[in-house]
C-alpha cells in the first residue's frame, strides 16, 4: 500500500511512485496467506460444494482483498493489475487443490 500522505500527492499534479501499489507489504501478504489457507481447508474438508458458494467466497476473500480495495491504484498501475490477477488465480488453484501442470 502507499506510504504516508505527501503534500505533492495530487492527481492533477503528477503520478508518483506513492500512487503505485506496494505489492510486498507484509500486512497484505499475511492477510492473503490467511485467506488462501482458509479456502484450502474448506476445500479439503469438502465443506463447500456449491459453485455459487465458491464464487461468493472467492469474491469475499480474494477479489475484495486484492481488487476492490485498490481500484484507483490498480487503474493507474498496470504492473499491480498483473500482480493482482496472477495472485487471485494462483490462490484459487491452491484452494481447489489443482496442481500447476503445464502441457509439454
Amino acid at each position: 500500500m502507499c506510504s504516508d500522505q505527501d503534500e505533492d500527492r495530487d492527481l492533477r499534479v503528477t503520478i508518483t511512485e506513492q500512487l503505485l501499489l506496494d505489492t510486498e507489504e507484509e500486512d497484505m501478504t499475511a492477510r492473503l496467506d490467511k485467506a488462501r489457507k482458509l479456502l484450502r481447508h474448506l476445500s479439503i474438508n469438502r465443506i463447500v460444494m456449491n459453485n455459487l458458494e465458491w464464487n461468493t467466497l472467492f469474491e469475499a476473500y480474494l477479489k475484495s482483498l486484492l481488487i476492490h480495495n485498490f481500484i484507483p491504484l490498480l487503474a493507474l498501475d498496470s504492473r499491480a493489475r498483473g500482480w493482482a490477477g496472477k495472485n487471485i488465480i494462483h490462490s484459487m488453484i491452491y484452494a481447489l487443490g489443482v496442481t500447476a501442470i503445464y502441457a509439454p
Binding site: L11, I15, S43, R46, V48, M49, N50, N51, W54, N55, F58, K63, I67, H68, I71, P72, L74, A75, L76, S78, R81, G82, A84, G85, I88, I89, M92, I93, L96, G97, V98, T99, A100, I101, Y102, A103, P104
Partner: protein, 409 residues
C-alpha cells in the same frame, strides 16, 4: 493451462474487467456525490490507455450514433436537481380498491395487452406499458373502456421504466381522472410504495403524484384478474395515430430521466459481452468436440473436479510409455498422438481423447458412456442438458479414464 481451466470453470473475471466494471459503476452511480463521480471520471481518463475501456468507449459511441431517433422529447419537463431524500412534509399514501366505486373513471396501468404477449419494437422485445381509461362498473359487468394507449420510455425501453413514464404522463396530461389502478405486485408500484427507495426519479414521481392530487389504488391478484377479465375494449374505439402493429397509439416519453442508468447498464453489458467472448476462447479442442458452449462448462461443481480431469480437459493423453502427450492432432504428417491405430474414418476428430471414445480399437466401455458413436452422443446430450441419466462430472470422469489409460498398439 490449468489457469485457463480454473478461469473457465469459475467464470472468473480478469483484473482489467473487474476494474472497468467498478469504474463504470462509480462514474454513473446516481446515489454518490457528484464530486465522487468526477473523481472516478478522472481515474477513468488515466485508465483510458488500457484497451478494454477504449473498446467499451468505442462500442458505446457507436451504439449511440446508430440508435434510431425516438419520439419527440417532451418540452414541458425541466431538469430537476438530483435528490436522494424525499420531502418529509409530503405524505404519499396508496389506497386499496375499496374506495373505488362503480361509475368512477380510472386509469388502469400495466394491463396485459389483448393478445397477452410482450410487444416488440424495432425487432427488440420490450414490454410497452398499456394503459386503459375505463369506467368502473358493478361486479361481473364488463368495464367500459374509453381510451387505450401504449407508453414507452424513449431513453430506456424496459417494462419498469415504461410504467414510470406512463405514470409521469398521467400526472401531467389529460386530467380526465385522478385515480390510477395498478397491480400491487407491479415493480413500479412496489418502488413507489418503498419509502427506502432512494432513486431520484422515484422520489420526484412520488411527490409529483401527491402535488397533482393523483391517487394510486393497488389491486390484489384476485381483484386484478377479475378486472382484467371484464376489460373488453369496444369495437368502435378509434385511435389518434397508428404507430403500433395493433393499431394502438404508442406514446414516447423521455421522463423520468434515466440516461445515467441506461448508459451504465449498456456499458456493463459491453464488458459482459467482452468477457463472454474471452471465455469462449478458453474452451479447448477436446471440450469443443463435446460442447462448444462455454457456459455449459461453468456450472460443474468445483469440489468434484480433480487434477486428472483438468489434465484431460486441457487435451493431454497418456501414450504407450505412460507419459502425457498433447492429444490434439495438428496435422496428419505429424502423426496421431496417443495411439497408432488407423484414423481414416475419424478424420473430423481432432482430439485423441474423443478418438479413444468413438473409434479406438480398444474397448471404450465405461460405466457411463456406451461404446462407439453412442458414447459421444451421450456425452454431448449430458452437456447440453438433454440427457439427465448421468451428471457432467460422471462423464468427465469416464473421459478422463479413457484419456489416462495407456495405448500400447
Amino acid at each position: 493451462m490449468p489457469h485457463n481451466m480454473v478461469r473457465l470453470m469459475t467464470s472468473l473475471e480478469t483484473c482489467d474487467e473487474s476494474i472497468a466494471k467498478q469504474l463504470i459503476k462509480g462514474k454513473t452511480n446516481q446515489d454518490s456525490d457528484p464530486s465522487v463521480r468526477e473523481a472516478y471520471a478522472i481515474i477513468e481518463e488515466i485508465f483510458q490507455q488500457f484497451g478494454l475501456l477504449n473498446y467499451i468507449e468505442h462500442k458505446w459511441r457507436n451504439q449511440k450514433t446508430n440508435k434510431p431517433t425516438d419520439g419527440p422529447a417532451d418540452q414541458n419537463f425541466g431538469k430537476e436537481i438530483i435528490r436522494h431524500y424525499y420531502n418529509t412534509e409530503i405524505r404519499f399514501i396508496v389506497h386499496g380498491t375499496d374506495s373505488l366505486k362503480a361509475g368512477n373513471l380510472v386509469w388502469i396501468i400495466g394491463a396485459s395487452l389483448p393478445n397477452g404477449e410482450k410487444q416488440s419494437k424495432g425487432g427488440k422485445a420490450t414490454s410497452l406499458c398499456s394503459n386503459y381509461l375505463a369506467i368502473l362498473s358493478q361486479q361481473n359487468q364488463p368495464l367500459t373502456v374509453l381510451k387505450r394507449q401504449l407508453t414507452i420510455n424513449s431513453t430506456y425501453e424496459l417494462g419498469y421504466f415504461n410504467t414510470l413514464s406512463c405514470l409521469w404522463k398521467r400526472a401531467y396530461e389529460n386530467r380526465e381522472t385522478s385515480a390510477i389502478l395498478m397491480h400491487q405486485n407491479d415493480s413500479a408500484a412496489m418502488a413507489l410504495k418503498n419509502m427506502l427507495n432512494r432513486h431520484h426519479y422515484i422520489i420526484i414521481l412520488r411527490e409529483l403524484l401527491v402535488q397533482k392530487g393523483i391517487r394510486i389504488h393497488l389491486a390484489t391478484r384476485e381483484e386484478w384478474s377479475n378486472i382484467m377479465s371484464r376489460l373488453a375494449p369496444p369495437p368502435t374505439m378509434t385511435t389518434t395515430t397508428t404507430t403500433h402493429q395493433d393499431g394502438l397509439d404508442v406514446q414516447a416519453c423521455n421522463r423520468p430521466d434515466v440516461q445515467l442508468r441506461h448508459s451504465r447498464n449498456q456499458q456493463l453489458r459491453i464488458v459482459e459481452k467482452f468477457k463472454a467472448q474471452r471465455t469462449s476462447g478458453l474452451v479447448t479442442k477436446t471440450m469443443r468436440d463435446i460442447c462448444p458452449l462455454a457456459e455449459k462448462w461453468t456450472n460443474i461443481p468445483l469440489g468434484q473436479i480433480s487434477n486428472q480431469i483438468i489434465i484431460m480437459m486441457t487435451g493431454l493423453v497418456s501414450n504407450g510409455n505412460r507419459a502425457l502427450v498433447n492429444g490434439e492432432v495438428e496435422s496428419e504428417a505429424k502423426g496421431y498422438p496417443g495411439c497408432s491405430c488407423n484414423r481414416d474414418a475419424d478424420r473430423d476428430t481432432t482430439s485423441s481423447t474423443i478418438h479413444r471414445l468413438i473409434r479406438c480399437t480398444e474397448s471404450t466401455s465405461t460405466t457411463v458412456l456406451p461404446k462407439r458413436d453412442q458414447g459421444l452422443e451421450k456425452a454431448r446430450a449430458v452437456f447440453m442438458e438433454r440427457d439427465k441419466s448421468a451428471t457432467k462430472t460422471e462423464v468427465l470422469k469416464a473421459l478422463t479414464r479413457l484419456a489416462m489409460s495407456p495405448r500400447d498398439h
